[in-house]
């Protein structure tokens, strides 16, 4: 994160004039609220923040903020964000995604973003469904989720994003619940401040296609133990947790990937020398 003098921006200063078109009751409203509160708490002016996204309900967030925004190609938000952060390390880059965009279409980018450990904050709003395209199962959908689109359920084991993030090298792994925007905001502040790739999975109910997820409010609970910097211990915890433990679950110590800028030459012959065999 860039060092900035604290400002007196209020959360509302990070909202654009565009009204969200999510369904009333959608968890993503809370995530937007948490994000703007986190930005205000960080004291960053909007022009020092870039919010990058892919495609899906959750990926609409950049348009709803007054920060720099990039509503990118499906699943490719992390590639865009990594490139941006490498050439503009002074910017705070936050990537917003959903479980379909982030874990399926963008699944490979997710692995390698964790591995590269560029100083990004990746916020995935997970509702276990493709909401924007009317309710197809996503990588985190339960195997027995029975709909007309998947009679009897997919029968496929769900993806465990936190375990995958940890195994792939993410430097900060946390889980939040959208219905607690205060706690989510605090967690996002920590995630942005932590160097390297910070992954925050936000359980964000889809009230239209998954009204059963309203019950998440009763199921979520604070993680019973504090965060560890021991990846093996974190892996054991994450493999056995119930999917509703909230808080920072892993806080690593890897140095972020930030290549040193090299001088650019306008001399073609000089440039070609670098490719000589």
């Amino acid at each position: 994160m860039s060092a900035t003098a604290p400002l007196s921006c209020k959360p509302g200063d990070y909202k654009s004039d565009i009204k969200p078109i999510w369904c009333p009751g959608c968890g993503d409203y809370h995530v937007l609220m948490a994000l703007t509160r986190a930005f205000a708490a960080l004291g960053l002016p909007p022009e020092q923040i870039a919010v990058v996204s892919g495609i899906g309900c959750s990926s609409r967030i950049p348009a709803y903020t007054s920060c720099y925004g990039f509503h990118g190609v499906h699943g490719r938000s992390l590639a865009v964000a990594a490139g941006l952060k490498i050439v503009r390390p002074d910017l705070t880059v936050v990537v917003t995604s959903g479980d379909g965009d982030g874990y399926s279409i963008g699944g490979n980018h997710f692995l390698h973003a964790c591995r590269r450990n560029v100083d990004l904050t990746y916020v995935v709003m997970d509702n276990h469904i493709y909401g924007m395209t009317k309710g197809q199962p996503s990588p985190t959908t339960e195997p027995d989720f029975d709909t007309a689109l998947t009679p009897g359920g997919t029968g496929v084991r769900p993806f465990n994003p936190l375990v995958v993030a940890l195994a792939s090298g993410a430097n900060f792994v946390a889980r939040a619940y959208s219905g607690n925007p205060h706690d989510t905001a605090s967690l996002l502040v920590e995630a942005v401040r932590h160097p390297g790739f910070s992954f925050v999975e936000v359980l964000s109910p889809c009230v239209t296609y998954r009204p059963d997820q309203r019950a998440w409010k009763e199921r979520v609970h604070s993680a019973p133990v504090s965060a560890t910097d021991d990846a093996a211990r974190a892996a054991r915890r994450l493999m056995t947790d119930d999917g509703f433990n909230l808080g920072v679950l892993y806080r690593g110590n890897r140095l972020p990937y930030q290549p040193t800028a090299v001088a650019v030459t306008s001399d073609l012959a000089e440039f070609e020398k670098g490719f000589e065999i």
Partner: protein, 175 residues
Amino acid sequence: MSEAANVRPVTSIAAFYAIAYEMETDAVERYKVLADQMQTHNNGELVLIFLDLARAEGLHAEEIRRMAGELGVESKSGPIGSWRSESPEAADLSAAHYLMTPRDALLMALAGEERAVAFYTGLAAAATDPEIRKLAEEFIAEETEHVELCHRLLRRYPPAGAERYEDPDPPLAGD
């Protein structure tokens, strides 16, 4: 969690005002979000109700700012909030629905006001400083008036029949 457990110990009048102000501004933000949602989804009656609720909470926030005077209302904890979890008065955004009725909105507001009463009751009971206790009691009275107002308004809106929640063209059309 009880509302009394939902706040850090209040050790000064300034902290009390800061928390009370945060509660009201949080309520304003949430009601405005709900009004925007209803506007997007063409539920005009609810737009007006949520804007009215936001205006009422905003007036209460300004009243608190006035009461605080030189003490100010800016929380040392910054824009995220002083309470341990969510604001006691917070409207539950996840309960919103595009077909919700004025009664649903008022019930949502009533629940928030009742939690606020419980919260200040907890503060008054826990206060060791008589000035903080007296202030908490004033806020209990204020929030109780809001509860009574919600009950009065609710009489205008009897429960709607099931047909009110029927949409001939629902968004859930996966099959």
